[in-house]
Subunit: 469 residues, 2 copies
């Protein structure tokens, strides 16, 4: 890994070239976000016409800044970007975050190549161009013109699309999904997905990496790196341009080659990358990986108070390659005396709609504590005899008393307003919970599939090593 | 259609046998819901120990009620149900809504057969047994023990699962999905899906029918009826037990035969039934059908301010069998002068992230008003230069000024909290809007596919007629 990438995530100082005094301007918004989000290093606004911006002394040019600078954020029109790179080089900058658009995406590949050439000459790594910036919450760094108040957590999100990326940043805030990093990768003139994956693989603040991907520029490099990274942490990809029509749309969007659908899916599987069907699913999965301990084998047990929701979950699991086995005998023996006679003790375990708050929570805890059980999915349909908020509180308390979840647990709470509040409560306590059974089922399937795929990749790699011995 | 079914939806009088004075008891909750939801007909609580329940005079038995009764809601233990049916018969009841469980679902098929035999003798139609009741909002009738405050609208929902059905009733309230009817169909001892479909096909208050289906008892009847009904209005099915594992779970839930997955899917397609992949999708679709005018052919045009979201939507459309053609030349000509030079005027039409509130709304309206356009999908990614609430208000105003939507329009607004409010605002104005691009795309695909399938069914039926001529 290039040590210079360290400066992308943890710069000691940042210059914003093209900093503006006008709210609404990109050069203003980025500077404001850097300041408001609480970046602790030095910040130098660069603007030839301003003396001070947002309370900080402004400099007429990069050269006028009295010290060396780690990161230069570039938000000036395209024709001035090359000069800024030269000035940044003289200040020993390590990375340039080039917000500016007007390069390859509008047919100016020549300008983009020159940008990279110039940056290489000075040993500067370039993020972008044509991006909304980047965020790294452990460093309290928000060098983007997206929303300010991103929630800190352990999901790293790399996005090839700008507008969608900013919009999804906003979505993570409403949905209370905590992120470690959000990186707008844009035209990938220099820094590409593989570079970022390499860095994030060893980042202790990142538990899972989510990529919105239209196409990769260097497929071999991407796959080689991804294969190593998935051994350490899950990578979730939403691949845009999965269909012929979508691939055409990609071409007119970022000019990337979306490539062959089947080839991508196969390669994802072989490298242990989890491919989500859509954005909602990708974030559902990312949330779970960021909250949960690793799945280490053992049975998946479903506990439901509603037969129908149990069936739908079983279908979804099966469609995602996860088969249900009969529950451990010890679990059946433990639960049987506590449940109504007509409860169904297969898998799903149907504790029936007559179950109380305590009864439902108790069944989940029994399953979690059973040594043969490796993962649990709790399915709750709102009933007149239970209260989703009480169930949520009890579960949160019991899990806390255990010192956190010992193995993966996902929940679905289906029902009215109380369920929505309970879903939020459980997610705040890092128990991944969803308002729909299929979303919870697809998520626990992803958690299990990740471990399985990783073991498969490991096995294949060790076979390859034996062959080469 | 059996005219007695009229009494299921529009009874003039209802007796609740097993009415209780204790809140929390099913016999209390149902009576309370009937009263609180504002049923205008006569209501007779039947309870041998009470003089009055919830302000209504109570009767010791059905026979003691001084008049004939249209609908008898039965909530007494299974062993007393047969006697209640006999009493109901003497009161010329037309339908019995048998809440009580303890029949076929626990192996007492004998008791269930006797129940039907007894009801037939009296000419009573039976809903259930083993159900949570039914709701028909145009008659202000909530004869269920689910939530009280169901929102009135034009989605009819038939559910084979009780617990899931009640939970989803609650969900419709939070999601502001208006329903015409919710019917818990349970063991389908007498009234089955086909009977209800026949009634709802001609119900002017119902625009779309959503069924949670585990299995059908009389497949031929179901398909024959469904084929006729889909000519009039869309039927959306969530089929539980789609996989081998799911089918097993169905068997242990309601004892239905989930049947062969492929056969079901093929038959659904042939009869013009829309099969949703999951509950969320089914309700997404139902919402759109309840709001929108019919799709009558013509091009589908996508208008987006974010390239990536446009690509994802294109993929989803393609995966749902809807191909995008180039936009009408007249639309391109109309939009070109108003858009930035780098806007992409294919399909999706990418109006770019630089577009203003007015510009985005204007592009949507241009598309809606173009005579070659048959349906529109608007894709909005939250940006710093736009405000989703302003866009929502403008759209609502413009659509109102047109006297409502002239053709199908769905929207997705992706972003932070403001987007969530704007989604709610648009849905309240009957413009179906979703927080994720793929959900909106799958919905507009369903709207288009319904019309196409229906034309296909019509064509096939007329061919059959020609052959038989």
């Amino acid at each position: 890994m290039d040590p210079k990438l360290e400066a992308l995530f943890k710069p000691r100082s940042i210059a914003v070239v093209g900093a503006s005094r006008k709210p609404g301007k990109i050069g203003f918004e980025i500077l404001r976000n850097i300041i408001e989000y609480g970046f602790k290093g030095k910040v130098y606004p660069v603007n030839p016409k301003a003396k001070e911006i947002l309370g900080l002394k402004a400099y007429p040019s990069l050269s006028a800044v009295p010290e060396d600078i780690d990161m230069v954020v570039v938000s000036v029109p395209a024709q001035y970007v090359l000069d800024v790179i030269d000035e940044a080089g003289k200040k020993n900058a390590k990375v340039a975050v080039v917000i500016t658009s007007g390069f390859k995406e509008i047919g100016r590949a020549d300008l983009e190549e020159e940008l990279v050439r110039r940056a290489r000459k000075w040993g500067i790594r370039v993020l972008g161009p044509n991006i909304f910036g980047m965020i790294y919450t452990p460093a309290r760094l928000n060098a983007s013109f997206g929303p300010t108040d991103v929630i800190s957590g352990s999901v790293a999100f790399i996005t090839q699309s700008g507008a969608l990326g900013i919009a999804l940043m906003g979505m993570t805030i409403v949905e209370r999904i905590g992120v470690s990093a959000i990186i707008s990768i844009g035209n990938k003139a220099d820094i590409d997905d593989a570079d970022l994956l390499e860095y994030l693989a060893d980042d202790p603040n990142t538990k899972v990496i989510l990529i919105y991907l239209e196409g990769v520029t260097d497929g071999k490099k991407f796959l080689k790196v991804a294969q190593k990274v998935t051994l350490k942490k899950p990578i979730i990809v939403v691949k845009a341009g999965r269909t012929e029509a979508g691939a055409k749309a990609v071409a007119s969007h970022t000019g990337s080659l979306a490539g062959n659908v089947v080839i991508y899916s196969t390669l994802f599987r072989q490298t242990g990358i989890l491919q989500a069907r859509n954005v909602e699913e990708a974030f559902d999965w990312a949330r779970a990986f960021s909250y949960l301990p690793e799945y280490k084998g053992g049975k998946l047990v479903l506990v439901t108070n509603g037969g129908g929701a149990g069936v739908l979950s079983t279908d979804t699991l099966s469609e995602n390659g996860v088969k249900l086995e009969p529950p451990p005998k010890s679990l059946v023996d433990a639960l049987k005396p506590k449940l109504p006679g007509f409860a169904s003790l297969g898998n799903p375990i149907d504790v029936t709609g007559m179950i109380s708050n305590e009864g439902f929570v108790d069944a989940i805890m029994e399953a979690l504590n059973n040594p043969e059980v490796g993962a649990v999915m709790g399915i709750y349909c709102q009933t007149a005899v239970t209260d989703p908020m009480v169930i949520a509180s009890m579960l949160v308390r019991k899990v806390k008393a255990m010192g956190g979840l010992p193995k993966p647990l996902v929940l679905t709470l289906i029902g009215g307003e109380e369920c929505y509040w309970a879903v939020t409560k459980l997610n705040s306590a890092k128990i991944p919970t969803y308002p729909m059974p299929e979303r919870a089922a697809s998520t626990i399937a992803a958690v299990i599939n990740y471990t399985r795929m990783r073991e498969e990749v490991k096995r294949r790699l060790s076979e390859l090593n034996e062959v080469s011995d």
